[in-house]
Amino acid sequence: MAQSVQTHTGDALERPPGLRGVAADLSSDQRAFKNVSWGKAMMWIFLLSDTFVFGCFLLAYMTARMSTTVPWPNPSEVFALTIGGQEIPLILIAIMTFILISSSGTMAMAVNFGYSRDRRKTAALMLLTAVLGASFVGMQAFEWSKLIAEGVRPWENPWGAAQFGSSFFMITGFHGTHVTFGVLFLLIIARKVWRGDFETERRGFFTSRKGNYEIVEIMGLYWHFVDLVWVFIFAFFYLW
Protein backbone atom coordinates (compact mmCIF):
# COMPACT_ATOMS: atom_id res chain seq x y z
CA MET A 1 0.00 0.00 0.00
CA ALA A 2 2.86 2.35 0.76
CA GLN A 3 4.14 1.64 -2.73
CA SER A 4 0.88 2.53 -4.38
CA VAL A 5 0.97 5.84 -2.57
CA GLN A 6 4.48 6.56 -3.76
CA THR A 7 3.98 5.71 -7.38
CA HIS A 8 0.77 7.68 -7.66
CA THR A 9 1.27 10.98 -9.38
CA GLY A 10 -1.56 13.43 -9.68
CA ASP A 11 -1.93 16.83 -11.27
CA ALA A 12 0.09 19.87 -10.29
CA LEU A 13 -1.17 21.94 -7.41
CA GLU A 14 -3.39 24.68 -8.71
CA ARG A 15 -2.05 28.18 -8.23
CA PRO A 16 -3.76 31.52 -8.65
CA PRO A 17 -3.07 32.93 -12.13
CA GLY A 18 -0.59 35.67 -12.90
CA LEU A 19 2.00 37.17 -10.55
CA ARG A 20 0.21 35.83 -7.49
CA GLY A 21 0.82 32.30 -8.75
CA VAL A 22 4.49 33.08 -9.42
CA ALA A 23 4.86 34.38 -5.86
CA ALA A 24 3.08 31.28 -4.50
CA ASP A 25 5.44 28.98 -6.45
CA LEU A 26 8.61 30.80 -5.45
CA SER A 27 7.62 31.08 -1.77
CA SER A 28 6.21 27.56 -1.45
CA ASP A 29 9.29 26.25 0.39
CA GLN A 30 9.35 23.21 -1.92
CA ARG A 31 10.62 23.26 -5.46
CA ALA A 32 10.11 26.58 -7.19
CA PHE A 33 9.77 25.28 -10.76
CA LYS A 34 6.91 22.84 -10.50
CA ASN A 35 6.11 20.65 -13.53
CA VAL A 36 9.70 21.16 -14.65
CA SER A 37 12.28 18.44 -14.13
CA TRP A 38 15.62 19.40 -12.62
CA GLY A 39 17.35 18.65 -15.91
CA LYS A 40 15.23 21.07 -17.86
CA ALA A 41 15.41 23.75 -15.16
CA MET A 42 19.21 23.49 -15.05
CA MET A 43 19.46 23.72 -18.84
CA TRP A 44 17.35 26.88 -18.75
CA ILE A 45 19.52 28.40 -16.03
CA PHE A 46 22.65 27.52 -18.02
CA LEU A 47 21.12 29.15 -21.10
CA LEU A 48 20.33 32.24 -19.03
CA SER A 49 23.99 32.53 -18.03
CA ASP A 50 25.00 31.98 -21.65
CA THR A 51 22.65 34.79 -22.64
CA PHE A 52 24.69 37.11 -20.46
CA VAL A 53 27.94 35.90 -22.05
CA PHE A 54 26.71 36.64 -25.57
CA GLY A 55 25.02 39.82 -24.32
CA CYS A 56 28.38 41.07 -23.07
CA PHE A 57 30.08 40.23 -26.38
CA LEU A 58 27.47 42.15 -28.36
CA LEU A 59 27.73 45.02 -25.87
CA ALA A 60 31.50 45.15 -26.28
CA TYR A 61 30.98 45.21 -30.06
CA MET A 62 28.44 48.03 -29.74
CA THR A 63 30.79 50.04 -27.53
CA ALA A 64 33.72 49.58 -29.92
CA ARG A 65 31.64 50.49 -32.96
CA MET A 66 30.02 53.55 -31.35
CA SER A 67 33.25 54.98 -29.95
CA THR A 68 35.61 54.61 -32.90
CA THR A 69 36.41 57.62 -35.04
CA VAL A 70 37.36 55.42 -38.00
CA PRO A 71 34.51 54.30 -40.31
CA TRP A 72 33.21 50.75 -39.70
CA PRO A 73 33.69 48.31 -42.61
CA ASN A 74 30.43 47.71 -44.50
CA PRO A 75 29.44 44.10 -43.69
CA SER A 76 27.24 43.97 -46.76
CA GLU A 77 30.35 44.30 -48.96
CA VAL A 78 32.77 42.43 -46.71
CA PHE A 79 30.61 39.31 -46.69
CA ALA A 80 29.58 39.46 -50.34
CA LEU A 81 30.36 36.50 -52.58
CA THR A 82 30.91 36.52 -56.31
CA ILE A 83 28.71 33.84 -57.84
CA GLY A 84 28.58 33.50 -61.62
CA GLY A 85 30.35 36.81 -62.13
CA GLN A 86 27.82 38.67 -59.98
CA GLU A 87 28.54 40.05 -56.55
CA ILE A 88 25.72 39.11 -54.19
CA PRO A 89 25.77 40.83 -50.79
CA LEU A 90 25.76 38.71 -47.61
CA ILE A 91 24.69 35.61 -49.53
CA LEU A 92 26.76 33.15 -47.51
CA ILE A 93 25.43 34.55 -44.23
CA ALA A 94 21.88 34.29 -45.54
CA ILE A 95 22.41 30.63 -46.48
CA MET A 96 23.91 29.95 -43.04
CA THR A 97 20.86 31.57 -41.43
CA PHE A 98 18.44 29.41 -43.40
CA ILE A 99 20.44 26.28 -42.59
CA LEU A 100 20.42 27.00 -38.87
CA ILE A 101 16.68 27.73 -38.89
CA SER A 102 16.05 24.47 -40.74
CA SER A 103 18.10 22.59 -38.17
CA SER A 104 15.94 24.13 -35.45
CA GLY A 105 12.85 22.91 -37.28
CA THR A 106 14.13 19.34 -37.54
CA MET A 107 15.14 19.45 -33.86
CA ALA A 108 11.65 20.55 -32.80
CA MET A 109 10.18 17.63 -34.75
CA ALA A 110 12.68 15.23 -33.16
CA VAL A 111 11.38 16.27 -29.71
CA ASN A 112 7.85 15.51 -30.84
CA PHE A 113 8.74 12.04 -32.15
CA GLY A 114 10.77 11.39 -29.01
CA TYR A 115 7.72 11.77 -26.80
CA SER A 116 5.78 9.56 -29.22
CA ARG A 117 8.52 6.95 -28.55
CA ASP A 118 9.30 6.70 -32.25
CA ARG A 119 13.00 6.15 -31.77
CA ARG A 120 13.94 5.70 -35.44
CA LYS A 121 12.38 8.99 -36.57
CA THR A 122 13.76 10.77 -33.51
CA ALA A 123 17.31 9.57 -34.13
CA ALA A 124 17.07 10.28 -37.87
CA LEU A 125 15.84 13.84 -37.28
CA MET A 126 18.56 14.44 -34.68
CA LEU A 127 21.17 13.18 -37.15
CA LEU A 128 19.77 15.51 -39.80
CA THR A 129 19.99 18.37 -37.28
CA ALA A 130 23.62 17.44 -36.60
CA VAL A 131 24.43 17.35 -40.32
CA LEU A 132 22.88 20.79 -40.84
CA GLY A 133 24.80 22.09 -37.81
CA ALA A 134 28.06 20.64 -39.12
CA SER A 135 27.52 22.25 -42.53
CA PHE A 136 26.92 25.56 -40.73
CA VAL A 137 30.28 25.23 -38.98
CA GLY A 138 31.88 24.27 -42.31
CA MET A 139 30.57 27.44 -43.96
CA GLN A 140 31.80 29.45 -41.03
CA ALA A 141 35.26 27.92 -41.46
CA PHE A 142 35.10 28.92 -45.16
CA GLU A 143 34.08 32.45 -44.20
CA TRP A 144 36.90 32.74 -41.64
CA SER A 145 39.57 31.53 -44.06
CA LYS A 146 38.27 33.87 -46.77
CA LEU A 147 38.46 36.87 -44.44
CA ILE A 148 41.86 35.88 -43.08
CA ALA A 149 43.15 35.52 -46.66
CA GLU A 150 41.85 39.04 -47.37
CA GLY A 151 43.92 40.36 -44.48
CA VAL A 152 41.44 40.59 -41.61
CA ARG A 153 43.18 40.24 -38.25
CA PRO A 154 41.97 40.94 -34.72
CA TRP A 155 44.13 44.08 -34.77
CA GLU A 156 43.68 45.32 -38.35
CA ASN A 157 41.77 44.97 -41.59
CA PRO A 158 41.97 46.62 -45.02
CA TRP A 159 38.62 48.44 -44.84
CA GLY A 160 38.33 50.49 -41.66
CA ALA A 161 38.07 50.30 -37.90
CA ALA A 162 40.52 47.77 -36.43
CA GLN A 163 37.95 46.55 -33.88
CA PHE A 164 35.96 44.93 -36.70
CA GLY A 165 38.28 41.91 -36.75
CA SER A 166 38.41 41.37 -33.00
CA SER A 167 34.61 41.67 -32.66
CA PHE A 168 34.03 39.36 -35.62
CA PHE A 169 36.40 36.60 -34.50
CA MET A 170 35.26 36.78 -30.88
CA ILE A 171 31.50 36.72 -31.53
CA THR A 172 31.31 34.27 -34.43
CA GLY A 173 34.08 32.12 -32.93
CA PHE A 174 32.23 31.72 -29.66
CA HIS A 175 28.98 31.01 -31.48
CA GLY A 176 30.67 28.48 -33.77
CA THR A 177 32.11 26.73 -30.73
CA HIS A 178 28.62 26.45 -29.29
CA VAL A 179 27.35 24.95 -32.55
CA THR A 180 30.26 22.49 -32.63
CA PHE A 181 29.58 21.24 -29.11
CA GLY A 182 25.89 21.08 -29.96
CA VAL A 183 26.65 18.81 -32.92
CA LEU A 184 28.75 16.52 -30.69
CA PHE A 185 26.02 16.20 -28.09
CA LEU A 186 23.37 15.70 -30.78
CA LEU A 187 25.37 12.75 -32.11
CA ILE A 188 25.82 11.26 -28.62
CA ILE A 189 22.12 11.50 -27.79
CA ALA A 190 21.00 10.37 -31.25
CA ARG A 191 23.11 7.24 -30.71
CA LYS A 192 21.42 6.59 -27.36
CA VAL A 193 17.98 7.04 -28.95
CA TRP A 194 18.84 4.80 -31.90
CA ARG A 195 20.15 2.07 -29.59
CA GLY A 196 16.90 2.19 -27.61
CA ASP A 197 18.50 3.21 -24.31
CA PHE A 198 15.30 4.88 -23.17
CA GLU A 199 13.17 1.81 -23.90
CA THR A 200 15.50 -0.65 -22.16
CA GLU A 201 16.30 1.83 -19.38
CA ARG A 202 19.98 1.31 -19.95
CA ARG A 203 22.12 3.24 -17.52
CA GLY A 204 24.32 6.06 -18.80
CA PHE A 205 28.05 5.37 -18.96
CA PHE A 206 28.89 8.55 -17.09
CA THR A 207 26.03 9.10 -14.65
CA SER A 208 24.90 5.45 -14.20
CA ARG A 209 21.34 6.77 -14.22
CA LYS A 210 18.43 5.70 -16.37
CA GLY A 211 17.59 8.23 -19.02
CA ASN A 212 14.33 9.08 -20.71
CA TYR A 213 13.13 10.92 -23.77
CA GLU A 214 13.15 14.24 -21.96
CA ILE A 215 16.86 14.48 -22.76
CA VAL A 216 15.82 15.06 -26.38
CA GLU A 217 13.79 18.08 -25.33
CA ILE A 218 16.64 19.38 -23.15
CA MET A 219 19.09 18.92 -26.03
CA GLY A 220 16.56 20.77 -28.19
CA LEU A 221 16.55 23.72 -25.77
CA TYR A 222 20.32 24.07 -26.21
CA TRP A 223 20.07 23.78 -29.98
CA HIS A 224 17.29 26.35 -30.30
CA PHE A 225 19.32 28.66 -28.08
CA VAL A 226 22.23 28.45 -30.54
CA ASP A 227 19.79 29.40 -33.30
CA LEU A 228 18.43 32.21 -31.11
CA VAL A 229 21.89 33.69 -30.55
CA TRP A 230 22.49 33.60 -34.31
CA VAL A 231 19.32 35.69 -34.82
CA PHE A 232 20.87 38.44 -32.70
CA ILE A 233 24.34 38.14 -34.27
CA PHE A 234 22.79 38.26 -37.76
CA ALA A 235 20.82 41.39 -36.89
CA PHE A 236 23.48 43.31 -34.98
CA PHE A 237 26.73 42.26 -36.59
CA TYR A 238 25.89 41.46 -40.20
CA LEU A 239 22.89 43.67 -40.98
CA TRP A 240 23.36 46.76 -38.79
Binding site: L19, Q30, V36, T51, I101, L228, L239
Partner: protein
Protein backbone atom coordinates in the same frame (compact mmCIF):
# COMPACT_ATOMS: atom_id res chain seq x y z
CA UNK B 1 -8.27 2.44 2.67
CA UNK B 2 -10.03 5.78 2.80
CA UNK B 3 -7.18 7.12 4.89
CA UNK B 4 -4.66 5.99 2.32
CA UNK B 5 -6.69 7.67 -0.37
CA UNK B 6 -6.62 11.01 1.42
CA UNK B 7 -2.94 10.55 2.07
CA UNK B 8 -2.36 9.96 -1.59
CA UNK B 9 -4.37 13.04 -2.33
CA UNK B 10 -2.07 15.09 -0.10
CA UNK B 11 0.94 13.67 -1.91
CA UNK B 12 -0.52 15.00 -5.15
CA UNK B 13 -0.43 18.47 -3.76
CA UNK B 14 3.16 18.24 -2.63
CA UNK B 15 4.55 16.56 -5.71
CA UNK B 16 3.96 18.20 -9.01
CA UNK B 17 4.39 15.72 -11.86
CA UNK B 18 6.72 16.77 -14.64
CA UNK B 19 4.95 17.74 -17.79
CA UNK B 20 6.23 16.90 -21.22
CA UNK B 21 6.07 19.32 -24.06
CA UNK B 22 4.53 17.55 -26.99
CA UNK B 23 2.84 19.64 -29.62
CA UNK B 24 1.56 18.91 -33.12
CA UNK B 25 4.14 18.75 -35.92
CA UNK B 26 1.96 21.10 -37.97
CA UNK B 27 2.58 23.89 -35.47
CA UNK B 28 6.34 23.45 -35.82
CA UNK B 29 6.11 23.50 -39.61
CA UNK B 30 4.05 26.70 -39.56
CA UNK B 31 6.58 28.39 -37.25
CA UNK B 32 9.40 27.10 -39.45
CA UNK B 33 7.71 28.75 -42.43
CA UNK B 34 7.31 32.03 -40.57
CA UNK B 35 10.98 31.97 -39.55
CA UNK B 36 11.94 31.49 -43.20
CA UNK B 37 9.78 34.41 -44.28
CA UNK B 38 11.13 36.66 -41.53
CA UNK B 39 14.74 35.72 -42.36
CA UNK B 40 14.09 36.41 -46.02
CA UNK B 41 12.65 39.75 -44.95
CA UNK B 42 15.72 40.73 -42.98
CA UNK B 43 17.98 39.62 -45.82
CA UNK B 44 15.89 41.71 -48.21
CA UNK B 45 16.52 44.78 -46.01
CA UNK B 46 20.20 44.42 -46.84
CA UNK B 47 19.71 43.33 -50.45
CA UNK B 48 17.50 46.33 -51.21
CA UNK B 49 20.06 48.57 -49.54
CA UNK B 50 17.61 50.29 -47.20
CA UNK B 51 19.36 52.79 -44.94
CA UNK B 52 18.74 54.88 -41.86
CA UNK B 53 15.90 54.50 -39.40
CA UNK B 54 13.78 52.33 -41.71
CA UNK B 55 16.65 49.80 -41.93
CA UNK B 56 17.23 49.72 -38.18
CA UNK B 57 13.53 49.50 -37.42
CA UNK B 58 13.00 46.59 -39.83
CA UNK B 59 16.11 44.74 -38.60
CA UNK B 60 14.97 45.00 -34.98
CA UNK B 61 11.38 44.10 -35.85
CA UNK B 62 12.35 40.93 -37.74
CA UNK B 63 14.88 40.04 -35.03
CA UNK B 64 12.37 40.34 -32.19
CA UNK B 65 9.68 38.42 -34.07
CA UNK B 66 12.10 35.59 -34.88
CA UNK B 67 13.46 35.44 -31.33
CA UNK B 68 9.91 35.45 -29.95
CA UNK B 69 8.81 32.58 -32.19
CA UNK B 70 11.87 30.47 -31.33
CA UNK B 71 11.55 31.00 -27.57
CA UNK B 72 7.77 30.70 -27.41
CA UNK B 73 7.17 27.70 -29.69
CA UNK B 74 10.42 25.84 -30.34
CA UNK B 75 11.60 26.22 -26.75
CA UNK B 76 8.02 25.78 -25.44
CA UNK B 77 8.07 28.88 -23.24
CA UNK B 78 4.45 29.59 -24.19
CA UNK B 79 3.37 26.47 -22.27
CA UNK B 80 5.74 26.56 -19.30
CA UNK B 81 4.68 27.54 -15.81
CA UNK B 82 4.79 31.29 -15.22
CA UNK B 83 7.37 31.05 -12.41
CA UNK B 84 9.92 29.56 -14.86
CA UNK B 85 9.01 31.99 -17.64
CA UNK B 86 9.61 35.03 -15.45
CA UNK B 87 12.78 33.58 -13.86
CA UNK B 88 14.33 33.07 -17.32
CA UNK B 89 12.97 35.91 -19.44
CA UNK B 90 13.13 38.87 -17.05
CA UNK B 91 16.87 38.88 -16.18
CA UNK B 92 18.04 39.32 -19.82
CA UNK B 93 15.92 42.48 -20.03
CA UNK B 94 18.27 44.01 -17.44
CA UNK B 95 20.99 43.83 -20.11
CA UNK B 96 19.17 46.79 -21.67
CA UNK B 97 20.24 48.89 -18.67
CA UNK B 98 23.83 47.85 -19.41
CA UNK B 99 23.27 48.82 -23.06
CA UNK B 100 22.11 52.28 -22.02
CA UNK B 101 25.15 52.71 -19.76
CA UNK B 102 27.62 51.61 -22.44
CA UNK B 103 25.94 53.73 -25.13
CA UNK B 104 26.38 56.80 -22.98
CA UNK B 105 29.95 55.79 -22.15
CA UNK B 106 30.91 55.23 -25.78
CA UNK B 107 29.44 58.58 -26.82
CA UNK B 108 31.70 60.14 -24.21
CA UNK B 109 34.72 58.16 -25.49
CA UNK B 110 33.95 59.26 -29.04
CA UNK B 111 33.66 62.86 -27.87
CA UNK B 112 37.07 62.80 -26.15
CA UNK B 113 38.65 61.11 -29.16
CA UNK B 114 37.25 63.75 -31.49
CA UNK B 115 38.29 66.54 -29.15
CA UNK B 116 41.86 65.39 -28.42
CA UNK B 117 42.97 62.95 -31.14
CA UNK B 118 41.21 64.22 -34.26
CA UNK B 119 44.41 65.91 -35.48
CA UNK B 120 46.52 62.77 -35.03
CA UNK B 121 44.41 60.55 -37.28
Amino acid sequence: MAQVATHAHKQDQVRAPEQHQQHPIRLYLVVWGFLFILSAGSYFVDYAGLQGYLRWFLILLFMILKAGLIVAVFMHMAWERLALVYAILLPPLLVLVFVAMMASESSYTLFTRMAFFAGAQ
